[in-house]
């Protein structure tokens, strides 16, 4: 209840959002955890993209490039999984 109120009164409440406690004086790990979460949520990406104006043609190119990369990565992942798989039903596929 109080947390909701606090969130409503302030969209980015300090020391509630994006905060990690340091455990066992391990600052490095805490820092990395923060960075990892920010990276995963796409916050750092958005920050970098909005430093400079991106012209529409650049946006189009970037989005297309990301699409291509995603397709390539997905196929490559499948390929690698296929090569690495064990217990084949057919020991020599395609050679019957």
């Amino acid at each position: 209840m109080f947390l909701t109120l606090r969130l409503l009164s302030n969209r980015h409440p300090s020391f509630i959002a994006r905060t990690v406690f340091v455990k066992n004086n391990n600052v490095d790990d805490a820092c990395r955890l923060v960075n990892r979460i920010l990276g995963k949520e796409g916050i750092l990406e958005q920050y970098r993209l909005t430093r400079y104006y991106e012209k529409p043609y650049q946006t189009r190119r970037r989005v297309n490039h990301e699409r291509c990369k995603a397709i390539y990565n997905e196929d490559m992942e499948r390929k690698i999984q296929f090569v690495l798989r064990k217990n084949r039903h057919e020991p020599f596929p395609g050679c019957s």
Partner: protein, 191 residues
Amino acid sequence: MLSTVRNTLRVPVAGVLRLFQTSALQASEKFDHKRIPQEDEGVQGEKVVDLDSVLKIKQNLFPTLDSDNQIFDGILYKQLPICNIRVSHNNTIFTMTDASGTVKIIRSCGMEGFKNTKKGTNIAAQTTAIAIATKAIDRGFKTIRVRVQGLGPGRLAAVKGLQMGGLNIVSITDNTHVSWNPPRPRKARRL
């Protein structure tokens, strides 16, 4: 990984050019800059994937409803002094404030004697952090919470330096201003 991709791209281009003996090498350099995204700027651990394993092992990593009233070193969490760190590409600025936000100490890499490009290095950030930490201990701050803002080479080094200076860091907060519908930013740099 990016550099390897760049090299593989560059080699065939150079080979083709050498056949014709043209002087269009500069054009290919420009092309490379535009196509290949810039390298990472000192945000360690951003690309690591296995988040869940860390979260499973450790408990009480994140603040909850009653973390404000938790006691650290005899002080309530919400009354701990704050160290704000403003990290940018060209400088790192530290401000020590009390819980209400009144500035007590301010130091920057430029004030520490680093000039020009040297201000924006991780070494500068670390030295400045150690300097401000010793000052803070003199003023009686011992246990602090850290609030980091911005990306830059000094991001990790700054927090590390505060700890090396003898301060006890309770929590790390990121306060980078990010907007999903910002006003139009300045025009892109021409490389």
